[in-house]
Amino acid sequence: MDLNYSHEELQFRDEVRAWLAGNLPSDLRDKVSSYSHLSREDLMRWHRILADKGWVAPAWPKEWGGTGWNLVQRYIFEEELGYAGAPPLIPFGLAMCAPVLLRFGTEAQKKRFLPRIYRGDDFWCQGYSEPGSGSDLASLKTKAVRNGDHYAVNGQKIWTTLAHYADWIFCLVRTDANAERRQEGISFLLMDMKSPGITVRPLILLDGAHEVNEVFFDDVKVPLENLVYEEGKGWTVAKYLLGYERMNTGRIGESKRQLAKLKEYCSSLKNDVRFRDRLSRVEVELMALEITNLRFLDRMRRTGQPPGADVSMLKIKGTEIQQALTELMMQAADPAAHDDFSVALRKKYLSMRKTTIYAGSNEIQRNIIAKMTLGL
């Protein structure tokens, strides 16, 4: 047993760290660090810097621009991005649509979309949730009816993150309302957001920010060639994506950065034993999660097994830690202060409540562990 990275892994980490120190623009780093709004241009600027370096999609096959890094290197890379305070890489194209196309897409679809995703030419969003279909995703109702060379799509998606920035949306739609199992009538469609009949309406969240939207489809014509995999097999595609190797689900690097910042920021409270103990417990939880994450990674590396329900555990603990850190941060702020930073970190606290709800609520994650790992 050896908990330390190998010499080569440390060298790799140092290489990534040094490159980030020289290439992460300071204005972007400052925006992230001060919890400021990141514009579409901010996000895409950073995307393109990484694309130019060849590091924007490490997990892709090499022929499409992947780096050929192993699991541990990919994990280190993602943690270093978080630790450095880089803007997030929006996952909808890079880590969701692309893996689906690589696994299920036609050659034509790959050639058409992957290079544009890589370069950041297209901004993607995800059309899964509907007003009546949240955790119970398979109950979705948005309907696609085949009509000659296209589908006619009618319905509504909700909580669509950054749809107002998006050029494209991938959607789960119902193509067969009479399928025996409701999962069987679902298909995976790609739609151009400029298509006539698509309307995006903002949904303002409790922190006042515009991040998610409602997306309405009114007789939207989608060419048949935009169907991914087979009609009625969308659920298979969606499930594949859920099990897709996500190394940084726990967001260890980002939480380490937040913890360091919190320690600095709460110095006026350092003699408050109650606060100190709360902080220590979060720190210990984060130490444990980092090792748990590495243990899972090590096991995956040696067995070649996909992570399965391990990802659910990392999601539960990782998001609980992220929330606890922002809560302590808000608490550490002078209650009388209303400077930009104090206001921003209070809003950050509000905003972070979403983490235990999105990407499969933590209750759904517990269901997954109960079923897959425990056999309940």
């Binding site: 047993m1 050896d2 908990l3 330390n4 990275y5 190998s6 892994e9 541990v72 034993v273 100190r276 103990d277 220590s280 417990r281 720190e283 210990v284 939880e285 130490m287 444990a288 999660l289 090792i291 748990t292 590495l294 243990r295 090590d298 096991r299 040696r302 555990m313 539960i316 603990k317 209750e363 517990r366 269901n367 562990i369 109960a370 790992t373 425990l374 056999g375 309940l376």
Partner: protein, 357 residues
Amino acid sequence: MNFDYNEEQQLLADSVRRFLEKDYDFETRGKIVASSDGYSPRVWATLAEMGLTGLPFPADYGGFGGGAIDLMGIMEAFGEALVVEPYLPTLMGGYIIARSPQAKSALPAVVEGKLKLAFAHSEKGARYDLSRVKTAARRSGAQWLLEGEKAAVLGAPAAGKLVVSASTPDGIRLFLADKPEVKAFATLDEMRAADIVLESVKAEPLGGDLALIEEVTDFATALVCAEAVGAMKFACDTTLEYLKTRKQFGAPIGSFQALQHRMVDMVIAQEQARSMACLACSKVDSNADARARARAVSAAKIKIADNARHISQESVQLHGGMGMSEELKVSHTFRRLTVLAGQFGDADHHLARFAAL
């Protein structure tokens, strides 16, 4: 980076586990607990044959020169089986003797399983403060004599010799003494301990000071973390089994989501605890400086203490009334986890230590 035991470690842990499954089942253990000695000389002899009593000691004295990671799998197996043999006190005493001039004369008997030890350090009222030692050592001619009282010394009833901490004009020092008459009592987790009155007890100086006491306590704390992980594993496994078999309202109670989620949280707590036990054992072995070692061990003990309480309480709760019955091993595991949570410092103690480092 590698989180597996090596082949030797795995083989040894497996053979210990097999032995315990065969010869230390819950019923046998119950008889050992109820016996007058409160441990099994026959089991002890087997542990010695398997090399366990020499594992962490230098080869010069017949040992195998192992560290905390080499002991991890064994301590986990002990935790799962709720072993009550005085193994940890013997290792602690041996750890100190191995770093003393008496190593050559005293350690081989420990390695061979002929001599059991106890570390007589704690005193009433000191709680977890390692530096509070009122027991005094004074010189009388060429002799050292010990005066004072030690409290709740684990393993003392079975021990042949004691490693005793005592204050001297130069600070706290460690001594080796024959065991005086003691009156044994059973601890909450069914081990044997004793209060010890030292009245002009002759002792040999072992050297060593508070730093060594802190070192051996960190070593033992890391082992306790591993032992707790084993006990947590049993608590989780047996509770999961119960959820799958116990039926109410016409269905296994494990089909109820309220219970499923609590079971999941227990399993997550166990994984997090295991990670911290790995960290503590590897830091203890890594020759890290005392501060880094102490920080890792305290962090681990915070998590182990919190999660031991969480898992033990939930394991009883999810068993319903059966969890309260002493007929089920889970209730004895509850007792062990309750004690392990506080052994060498509870979460509050280690939170203070962690923050001070």
